[in-house]
Point group: C2
Chain length 321, copies 2
């Protein structure tokens, strides 16, 4: 939620001459996206978003992200669509940063998702997975199981300063997942960060999916597990089985969940919980309390992980085979 | 440049039902305004700005500011115009804060103002003063000469920690101004904070004036002096007499500057420089280095004050009587 890079009016007006968007009328830095700087820009032809990519996004990954968004948009997934400049480029440089202009999407993210939002999410996620399977773009997940241990190693000596027993919890969970992680499930393009703030709604309908900067080629049901964690717990971290049921059934209706995917969903959910627990602990220990970016409490994902550790049947998620 | 108060989607949709603006389609927190939280809101009927007033603005002053903006807009000064709700109110409450919805203005503020921008500014400022004189609203300046000494007293023992000699500089300047401040110059509504970031341009034309949250009833030429300081120095704090000349001549063409105003302009400029020096020093000493809000270096206004101390004739500002 920050504007890290300031852009001057004349600099932006000059930059936009590369795009056929007409004269620049106004622009505002917006508090959206933790990783990058975003501006809403108003030109004679309409409203767009300008993104300046900050250091946390690897420049070599940007062509994948931008091409993926273009591919998805062309195949019926409403997402920010990169605008090509006069030379056909989607990626430019502005204020010393890689920069792209994308379409503006109406809609708002839902602070308190209800069952109907989980239904809409399930269908959209399944659609995204189906469309992604037609896509030849490839990017490895840089936050997959094999990366979790090195992330853990970087902070393990300090883990218990956050909560006594956290080191043992993570150590044992890593050990379990390394020995039980399924490797032969269907794979494809996943969003990998489909939290409520990345899904725009108008009324009960999804009007767009944003922020593809973690997307990659990985296990499809891992994406579903990320959503279970991000959408189906109440603020007190009690699990809402009605929401989970709605999410899974709506997904299954569009892309049938295979038996092996169903069977291993609790493990996927544990992995998804651990992945966000690890990055939150890392950020907690490496971000000062007064920093610009809000730290997210790791406790939330400790409790989500513990919940999934108790699940031994998909019925706990409200899905009956 | 911050979003201090978060508003939820459903809370905002409910709030907007009071206004005849149609369904809420999208909203974004914007990095604009140091004092308040601002959102751009998109509804079926267009784009507006929602402002939540934070603690630095006194709630009892809000009716003055909102009524003034409405009056100015109705009298040809393009500025954010408060939208009245179904009951005719301009001021509401949202997320526990006083809140108002105002019109959205196209245009951008100029990071590097040129002579032609100073010309446009002069004419607009004079127009604002003329229109303001027809306005019966009243608010005392809470940052006028009589308030400067108590501001100074609050930090005087620490002043030299910023720069050796600063305490003496301010002490002597306060003494001089208290003994020489002209009290019989024309008064009226002034903006009192007309820095470049509060004036929107499209090309060389002013498309709007924003941020009236310091405006008050005070000496008109003091407003002109604030602009001389804010618009007519180069980044190295050399004084650009061509810009000053353009500003004063354009102002004078719309509202003739009286001889007494001209004669005392160097004193007004010293006062204007001291006023911003005082608040910058205060903020510098009372804002932690890592805080959300950028501190502004007091050095800039030390040097501006010293420049005006050397001026004994209006010719130094490029204005020939």
């Amino acid at each position: 939620m920050a504007v890290y890079t300031n852009v001057a009016d004349d600099e932006l007006a000059h930059f936009l001459k590369r795009y056929g968007l007409g004269k620049l009328l106004s622009f505002k830095g917006i508090a959206e996206g933790v990783e990058n700087t975003n501006y809403v820009i108003y030109t004679e032809t309409g409203t767009h978003i300008l993104t300046l990519y900050e250091k946390r996004v690897r420049t070599e990954d940007l062509p994948f992200f931008l091409n993926l968004m273009e591919f998805l948009a062309q195949n019926g997934i409403t997402c920010p669509t990169p605008i090509r400049d006069v030379d056909g480029n989607m990626l430019q440089t502005l204020a010393g940063r890689p920069a792209a202009v994308v379409t503006f999407l109406n809609g708002m993210w839902i602070r308190r998702p209800q069952v109907e939002h989980c239904t809409a999410l399930g269908a959209t996620l399944a659609n995204l997975h189906l469309v992604g399977q037609k896509c030849s773009l490839h990017r490895n997940n840089t936050l997959s199981l094999s990366d979790w241990r090195s992330l853990y190693d970087a902070f393990k000596d300090e883990a218990d300063s956050i909560k006594p027993g956290l080191r043992t919890l993570i150590e044992e969970e890593l050990h379990f997942l390394e020995n039980n992680w399924p490797t032969h499930l269907p794979k494809g393009i996943i969003h990998a960060d489909l939290f409520p703030d990345n899904v725009f709604f108008i009324d009960q309908n999804i009007s767009g999916v944003i922020d593809f900067y973690f997307s990659c080629y990985d296990t499809l049901s891992y994406d579903l597990a990320i959503c279970l964690n991000a959408w189906c717990f109440e603020p007190d971290i009690s699990f809402n089985v009605t929401k989970a049921s709605a999410l899974l059934k709506a997904y299954d209706k569009v892309r049938q969940i295979e038996p092996a995917e169903l069977y291993s969903l609790p493990i996927m959910a544990r992995g998804a919980a651990l992945r966000f627990l690890l990055t939150r602990v890392y950020d907690w220990l490496n971000t000062s309390e007064t920093a610009f970016v809000a730290r997210k409490d790791p406790e939330e994902y400790i409790r989500k992980l513990r919940f999934h550790q108790t699940v031994d049947d998909i019925k706990a998620y409200g899905f009956d085979t």
